[in-house]
């Protein structure tokens, strides 16, 4: 084999291992020391060593084990180098204890995710932290999706990892009684990752489109590692439903298409099937939750559009349950639109205004779009026009803005 072929094979093996096992290796390395940053550094040095070594020696039969052994050695070297600063013996001991055969690396990624989404970590940095620690994304990529400067994002990630280490936030799955609440934070972070990816529905921005894939990967992983918990399955079903309709949300010219006008033939039937199966499995576990209800709503929308059978009372019931559970004003707005289908626009406007007592909702585009829609149905066209105007002014997606402008004109 030529050097170049060897190089390429080494690179592609390293890439494949990185994709498959990055988080597993970080989680395993950090589990004993509590030091996520050191684990990441040691692992990236091990990957660099692999790219140098593998083209010459050939790829090892167990690349993960190879990387783990090298990363551990790097970790020990680093701590030896710091020895004059602190008594490192106990930390070396901790790392050495973990040197059993690396054939079977236990999967501690979930423990790592629970640490990243710990209530002691600022909520806005939890999703970026998971993307970095579990998937190995760099600060620059994460920053672009979360609309932050790379330098600021990098600083916040470093600070969060320092807090995990210095405050000794444990990298493990919480106890039974704490699990539901703590799991909700992990799922929120995954959903935030998905929403950031989803914010570019045309999928023109490659970094953003990847994020929905990463969120689906994390969702599948969480559902797989906690098979007795229904909410990870609910979240997975919700994300799959949204992803399944991606292609139908825009015309070939990039114009926005609302759900009611989408062509179900453009939906990804396989993904919808997978979503329904996940939701069914969640239902069988017998504990309802926010993500299952949101997925059930998606399921009801799909069913209505596919079969042309109005199911608004069922939809309204789901919104009622969701609103009771979350108290979210965003849910209340969507619920008001379902009220319109069941009891008419006047009743719906009352429901919408009840939701809007919370003043921060007045900066929220969907509130004004819903108001414009409902007012125009009651014939209050001047008021409707003002509401549409507000919605247009608050929208940042150009395609949605054009859609709202057309509605307003029509």
């Amino acid at each position: 084999m030529s050097v170049i072929e060897g190089d390429e094979q080494a690179r592609s093996t390293a890439d494949a291992v990185a994709r498959r096992s990055y988080g597993k290796l970080v989680a395993f390395l950090a589990a004993r020391t509590g030091d996520v940053a050191a684990a990441e550094d040691a692992l990236s040095e091990a990957f660099a060593a692999a790219l140098k070594d593998w083209p010459q020696q050939g790829c090892p039969s167990n690349p993960e084990g190879w990387l783990l052994t090298v990363a551990r050695r790097k970790n020990i070297d680093r701590i030896r180098a710091q020895r004059h600063e602190e008594p490192a013996a106990d930390r070396l001991q901790t790392i050495a204890e973990g040197s059993e055969g690396a054939d079977e690396i236990p999967d501690r990624r979930l423990g790592l995710m629970f640490a990243c989404a710990h209530p002691a970590i600022d909520e806005s940095i939890r999703a970026p932290l998971i993307l970095q620690a579990v998937l190995g994304l760099d600060a620059k990529t994460i920053a672009s999706a979360f609309l932050a400067s790379p330098a600021a994002m990098s600083k916040r990630l470093v600070r969060a990892k320092e807090k995990i280490r210095q405050a000794a936030i444990p990298l493990r799955i919480p106890d039974r009684d704490e699990l539901p609440q703590r799991l909700a934070a992990v799922l929120d972070a995954i959903y935030a990752t998905f929403s950031e990816g989803w914010a570019d529905p045309q999928g023109t921005d490659a970094t953003r489109r990847d994020f929905t894939e990463e969120a689906l990967f994390l969702g599948r992983l969480t559902a797989e590692l906690l098979p007795r918990e229904p909410e990870p399955l609910g979240l997975l079903a919700l994300m799959l439903h949204a992803e399944a309709r991606r292609r139908a949300r825009r015309t070939p010219d990039g114009e926005y298409v609302p759900l009611a006008e989408q062509d179900p033939a453009l939906w990804d039937a396989q993904m919808i099937y997978e979503a329904e199966a996940a939701l069914k499995r969640a239902g069988a576990l017998g504990a309802i939750g926010r993500f299952q209800l949101e997925a059930a709503l998606q399921s009801a929308h799909v069913d209505r559009c596919r079969n042309g059978r109005p199911n608004w009372p069922e939809v309204l019931q789901l919104y009622d349950a969701l609103l009771a559970l979350t108290g979210s004003p965003v849910i209340a707005i969507n619920r008001a639109l379902a009220v319109a289908e069941v009891s008419g626009a006047t009743k719906a406007l009352e429901a919408l205004e009840a939701a809007a007592v919370n003043s921060c909702i007045k900066d929220y585009q969907p509130y004004w779009a819903a108001r414009g829609e409902l007012l125009s149905r009651t014939g209050a066209s001047e008021e409707a026009r003002q509401a549409w105007q507000m919605a247009i002014g608050l929208e940042k997606d150009p395609a949605v803005r054009r859609f709202l402008q057309n509605r307003n004109a029509g």
Binding site: D35, I79, Q82, E85, E86, P87, D90, R91, H118, A120, R165, Q166, A167, A168, I169, P170, P174, E178
Partner: protein, 119 residues
């Protein structure tokens, strides 16, 4: 891992309480302290005198400057602390949540800068 649990409470409330309420409050702190002792995690604990007794010192222009009063004037004041030794932050937080001050004030949890955390 050692953590300090700092109890911040509005000390102005204490004199307004009835004698029975004060006794009940004291009893709650005593029960908490003995629970920490029973669990073998308590390393030290003290209640502080009110902030009216506080004096703050700093060096200004190479000379010690002494000021009457606490360093930070706030609605709730540091009223006492518990130094505990537990495996991780989750354990420290669950003890913080049981501290009576968490009910009528707030408890700040800070890891101690020990040798193992110095890197």
């Amino acid at each position: 891992m050692q953590y300090i649990l700092m109890a911040y409470v509005d000390e102005a409330q204490w004199p307004k309480m009835t004698k029975a309420q004060q006794e009940q409050g004291m009893a709650a702190y005593m029960a908490y302290t003995s629970a920490l002792n029973e669990a073998g995690v308590l390393k030290g604990s003290n209640r502080l005198q009110p902030v009216a007794t506080a004096t703050t010192v700093r060096i200004a222009n190479d000379k010690p400057q002494v000021l009457d009063g606490p360093y930070v004037d706030s609605k709730e004041q540091l009223g006492g602390y518990f130094l505990i030794d537990v495996p991780d932050l989750d354990a420290a937080l669950s003890w913080a949540a049981r501290c009576p001050a968490a009910g009528h004030g707030a408890v700040e949890v800070r890891p101690i800068w020990g040798m193992a955390a110095a890197a």
